[in-house]
């Protein structure tokens, strides 16, 4: 009399102890191999009395199936655990692919450019070393004009050739004139670029600064369009709730002239200078100033960057200390 149930219990108990592939294999040989114990039971069926044969035969076949299934599922379990390895310390530092950074002035300049591009502005650049004529005279700032004092200038040494006087541009405004030389209205352009001032540096002044100049000329544009455009810009840069104000200010190449301020952490801060393009600039470009009007503006990128990132000393930007630059990983 064969006790299939005891056999099954014994086989499963020994299977549970097999914990690698060789042990599984020897278990299989012991139970299911050609001389295996279950194989022996199956072989012995034909020697049983006829009335027992069907019961034992069927039972042993069923047991064979179930042991085969058990070994296969045991193998899956063992494989899974050995392939995935033991538990690890997930709090150890990761292997980090390097993360670079863009300079905060680049980040802020790009953000400002994007904002203007969204409003349909072209983006162009101009020369850093400018002619006096473009930086001053053609912007209605002739030599000896009191307004020249507004820009302390770094001059290029005369090379003795008798060529025109050159300087490091004090603003990106000369590109107003250069762009007007090659384009006709409608004009909608910004000019990012580096500018230079001959002035002592301190926490809020650098002799080198990045400026974005803007020029818009079309038929019948008014101060309302200046306000609408620059308010939209400031909202996008400083948030929809930003409070703005326009104060009268003076720049020789605009009339009326203004300064846009925002209320930032309780104080009014000057963000940009602006105004309606002076009719003489329009006329000098060969356009009819009674038909074409427009506005211009200029602003410092570092100043906006200081507000965006809470930088208190402008001199950090060009010191390029990597402890500072590292702060801009992942920033926009």
């Amino acid at each position: 009399m064969v006790d299939l149930e005891a056999l099954e219990a014994e086989a499963l108990a020994s299977l549970a102890e097999a914990d690698d592939e060789p042990a599984l294999e020897s278990w299989r040989v012991e139970w299911l191999g050609r001389r295996g114990r279950l194989t022996a039971v199956l072989r012995g069926v034909r020697d049983l009395p006829a009335e027992e044969r069907p019961r034992v035969g069927a039972g042993a076949n069923r047991l064979k199936g179930s042991l085969e299934e058990a070994v296969s599922s045991r193998r899956t379990v063992l494989m899974a655990s050995s392939a995935d390895g033991p538990a690890i310390d997930v709090t150890l530092p990761g292997r980090r692919p390097p993360l670079g950074s863009l300079h905060p002035v680049t980040l802020t300049r790009r953000m400002m450019e994007r904002t203007f591009r969204d409003m349909g502005f072209d983006v162009v650049e101009g020369p850093d070393v400018e002619l006096e004529e473009y930086n001053f005279d053609r912007l209605r700032i002739p030599a000896g004009h009191p307004a020249r004092d507004m820009w302390d200038t770094m001059w290029v040494t005369d090379d003795g050739s008798g060529g025109p006087r050159q300087l490091l541009r004090t603003h990106t405004s000369p590109m107003q004139i250069r762009y007007l030389e090659r384009r006709k209205p409608p004009i909608r352009v910004i000019v990012p670029g580096t500018c230079y001032r001959y002035e002592a540096t301190d926490a809020t002044h650098e002799w080198m600064l990045t400026q974005i100049e803007g020029l818009v000329i079309d038929e019948d544009l008014s101060f309302a369009h200046l306000k609408g455009t620059l308010e939209a810009f400031v909202r996008r840069v400083f948030g929809a709730d930003i409070e703005t104000r326009f104060r009268c200010d003076y720049f020789p190449f605009v009339e009326p002239g203004a300064e846009l301020g925002v209320r930032w952490q309780g104080d009014w801060l000057e963000v940009l200078g602006c105004g309606m393009v002076h009719p003489e600039i329009i006329e000098d470009a060969g356009l009819d100033p009674e038909r074409y009007t427009g506005f211009a503006f200029g602003m410092g990128v570092e100043r906006v960057a200081m507000l965006r990132y809470g930088v208190r000393d402008i001199r950090h930007f060009y010191r390029n200390d990597i402890r500072f630059l590292r702060e801009f990983e992942g920033r926009r």
Binding site: L92, V129, H145, W155, Y250, M276
Partner: protein, 799 residues
């Protein structure tokens, strides 16, 4: 410009707070930089009356004052002042007031106190406690009829607005100029100061003359002669006014000239007429080796382009800047010549810079370009005041030499223009009201025009839009409408070079490098240290004499920035800059070239996971270049041995694209690196973005991956040690069936002949349209080997 409000109030009324006044002036263009209160803030100090006085019960020298300060109840304070008496009007400091401690002279907050057993709930103040003077013998008795409880600052002291004029508004350097702003802002009118005086029968022309030799430097000179003046102190009101505006009173004559300068913005000067040789004035350029002693005692050696006021013989004043010491008003002066002139700003600026530190009140105003029409108005006002304060008689007439006479233009502006520029059309009444408030004479010419004339104290109303600004700023820019931009968006220009710079930034920052932005000014020694000798643009007035030229290379600042960060880096350091360099061109603007410089060095990251730090080398910077090429869809070719003074010859290469050199790559020589402060190895990648831009191609179409299998074979070759592996790889890749080739092993050693090396390539053969047979591959391999044998003398190495 200091504008004391008590002085301002003589000409104009306003009925809002100091803060509101300052705000409105600022918004309209006269920026108030600060509000100063003379005597202190005096918070919690009010006008009070001594209601009763009794003896302190415990101290002989102290008394108790009961003070009425306009509140419901009276307060008792302990007071030691001997002059305290019932009925006095006094300055009463409540608990919490900030006072000057009489002993330490430091500010101190007044607390409730107990003095000899009696509680004191405030203080009756002395001048010292209020910071008004050093007086502390007794309490200050006020002579005011202001209501009890009125803040002391309304009764004593003054508020001064510090206004920063813009260059177009010299009138903002005057109290009257600010008064006109206030009048326009309030819709009020300016109360013009009186300027009339009696004249004698003698005509001034008979006693003096004015000759202008340099009409460009001096467009106008007026002289008034006043006889019989008595020099002495000016009246108290004038002294107070000058002091409140920050000027020191001197004598009645000088004080009037200063007073009128502050009132009108026109500088004046008074000479002792008797000191002037022949009693006459010549305005001329200084003579060679001419000397002049100024009022402040400085001794000037004049230059031929200095404009001077001279008498018949010698210079007596530096025009528009300061008078001379010899002709100054003294106690014995009886006749004065009052100068009210106009000088060219450039001339004043030149002499001021040469002879003074920061200029004078007079030069500051002349440098803003005054209207010559203003001179006569100020001259008459000053003459009237001198006669009022110093007596005397003015000779008849003004000696007025006016070679540069200006005829103020009549500006015609239309209602349509106002609306076109401001986006809104104010009423005719409003426009005229604003202009009249500003003192700008105007006429309405129906149906659409105004005729406007620039007043003498201004010179900035020249074109119609100047008038439009006056309307806009007084209306208030914040009250004007706002609208989005209408119309078509113009076609943008494509700036491929700029775009490429931006792509390079994105790729390199994506590869883990950090962007830096450095200064453009460098020194010659720094350029030499960086191996650059191109012609640089020299700066006439550099910020720093040691860095007196524009960079011709990004290396000096790049390397120094690298050096200064080496200590912070802890691990690999990779920096790059995209920026312009400048090469001088005679007689023209320099060539501006956009460059990339990337610098890497240091040790790769180590980690707890057993990754060992490795010193970065040439192949790390080359890898950056290769990935940059991939990111820009450009193939960089290398030619060994860059011709570059700063790079090590055998560890560097020229970079080219389709045969055009665009940059260099390699190890910076130890000598150059150390001259710029770098310790250890540093590897540079330098590209001209300007040169690279035209070499970029439009992106090619992508190739669809082949569905047929690849055949992979390894090819080990023995070549001469000098053979460049890249050339072999290119030759292998030249076969039409080769999809890719990778170098996977380099061997030199015993198993191959000396002077040679073994290179093992893995070659991937694949066809886009069929499965390759063994014969196809065999044939291709033989072709390749033949080519390598003939071209490079390569032999197959038996493995």
């Amino acid at each position: 410009m200091d504008v004391p409000l008590k002085w301002l109030a003589q000409y104009v009324d306003w009925d809002f707070s100091v803060e509101e006044l300052a705000h409105r002036l600022s918004m309209a263009g006269a920026e108030v930089e600060s509000i100063k209160r003379s005597g202190g803030d005096w918070e919690h100090v009010v006008v009070g009356r001594v209601a009763a006085v009794e003896q302190h019960p415990n101290a002989d020298r102290l008394r108790l004052a009961t003070v009425d300060y306009g509140a419901d109840e009276l307060l008792q304070v302990v007071c030691g002042a001997p002059n305290l008496a019932q009925g006095q009007t006094i300055a009463f400091a409540q608990v919490g007031a900030q006072l000057i401690d009489p002993a330490s002279r430091q500010p101190r907050k007044l607390r409730k106190g107990k003095i000899r057993g009696v509680t004191s709930l405030g203080m009756v103040c002395s001048e010292r406690e209020l910071g008004l003077s050093d007086e502390h013998e007794g309490i200050l008795e006020l002579s005011t009829d202001a209501a009890l409880g009125t803040p002391l600052s309304d009764v004593l002291g003054d508020v001064v607005l510090d206004i920063k004029p813009t260059p177009n508004r010299p009138d903002h350097f005057s109290i009257l100029g600010i008064a006109r702003e206030v009048a326009a802002l309030t819709g009020g009118a300016v109360n013009e100061p009186p300027a009339s005086y009696p004249e004698s029968d003698v005509v001034a022309d008979e006693r003096t003359s004015v000759e202008i030799e340099d009409a460009e430097g001096c467009p106008r000179y007026t002289a008034i002669v006043i006889d019989g003046v008595t020099v002495g102190p000016s009246p108290q009101w004038m002294q107070d006014a000058l002091s409140s505006a920050g000027m020191r009173p001197i004598n009645n004559i000088v004080d009037v000239t200063n007073y009128v300068m502050l009132e009108w913005g026109q500088p004046l000067h008074a000479f002792d007429h008797h000191i002037l040789r022949e009693g006459r004035i010549v305005v001329r350029r200084a003579r060679a080796s001419e000397h002049l002693e100024l009022l402040d005692g400085s001794e000037l050696k004049l230059q031929p382009d200095d404009l001077v006021i001279a008498d018949a013989e010698r210079a007596v004043a530096l025009a528009g800047i300061m008078g001379g010491a010899e002709s100054e008003i003294s106690d014995s002066t009886t006749t004065i010549l009052l100068e009210t002139a106009n000088f060219q700003e450039a001339s004043i600026r030149r002499s001021r810079a040469r002879h003074t530190e920061g200029g004078t009140e007079a030069s500051r105003r002349f440098e803003k370009s005054l209207n010559p029409e203003l001179a006569e108005l100020a001259a008459r006002r000053a003459a009237a005041l001198i006669i009022e304060t110093a007596g005397g008689t003015a000779l008849a007439g003004i000696v007025d030499t006016y070679p540069g006479q200006v005829h103020p233009p009549q500006v015609v502006v239309t209602q349509r223009r106002i609306e076109q520029i401001l986006g809104v059309q104010p009423s005719v009444e409003r426009v005229r009201g604003i202009l009249s408030g500003l003192g700008i004479s105007n006429r309405w010419l129906p149906p659409d025009r105004y005729a406007v004339t620039c007043p003498p104290w201004r010179s900035d109303i020249m074109v119609p839009d100047d008038v439009v600004e006056e309307i806009g700023r007084i209306e208030g820019y914040d009250n004007l409408p706002s609208a989005p931009l209408p119309g078509a968006v113009p076609d943008p220009e494509i700036d491929a070079e700029r775009d490429l710079g931006e792509r390079i930034r994105d790729v390199l920052s994506g590869l883990g490098l950090r962007e830096i932005i450095t200064y453009v000014a460098v020194g010659q020694d720094e350029l030499e240290a960086a191996g650059d000798d191109s012609a640089s643009v020299q700066l006439q007035n550099p910020m720093n004499a040691a860095r007196d030229r524009m960079r011709t290379s990004l290396r000096p600042w790049g390397m120094q920035t690298f050096a200064s960060n080496q200590r912070q880096a802890r691990g690999p350091l990779g920096l790059y800059e995209v920026g312009k360099t400048f090469k001088a061109r005679r007689g023209q603007q320099p060539t501006e070239e956009r460059m990339l410089l990337a610098l890497i060095g240091g040790e790769s990251e180590t980690s707890v996971h057993g990754d060992h730090g490795r010193v970065l080398d040439f192949y790390d910077v080359k890898g950056v270049m290769e990935q940059l090429g991939a990111g820009l869809e450009v193939e960089f070719g290398l030619t060994p041995n860059a011709e570059d003074a700063a790079l090590v010859a055998g560890q560097s290469a020229n970079i080219s694209v389709r045969g055009q050199q665009v940059g260099v790559l390699g190890r910076v020589s130890a000598l150059h690196a150390s001259r710029l402060g770098v310790e250890g190895d540093v590897f540079a990648l330098e590209l001209s973005i300007t040169a690279l831009t035209p070499l970029l191609r439009e992106s090619a179409d992508v190739t669809s991956p082949s569905v047929y299998p690849a055949a992979v074979e390894d090819l080990a070759l023995i070549v001469d040690a000098s053979t460049v592996s890249g050339d072999l790889a290119s030759a292998i890749a030249g076969n039409g069936l080769v999809e890719a080739v990778e170098l996977f092993d380099i061997y030199t050693g015993d198993q191959i002949p000396a002077g040679s090396k073994s290179l093992a390539f893995r070659v991937y053969y694949r066809s886009p349209d069929r499965t390759l047979t063994d014969r196809d591959v065999e044939k291709a391999r033989r072709g390749i080997v033949r080519r390598l044998e003939s071209q490079f003398g390569a032999t197959l190495r038996d493995s």
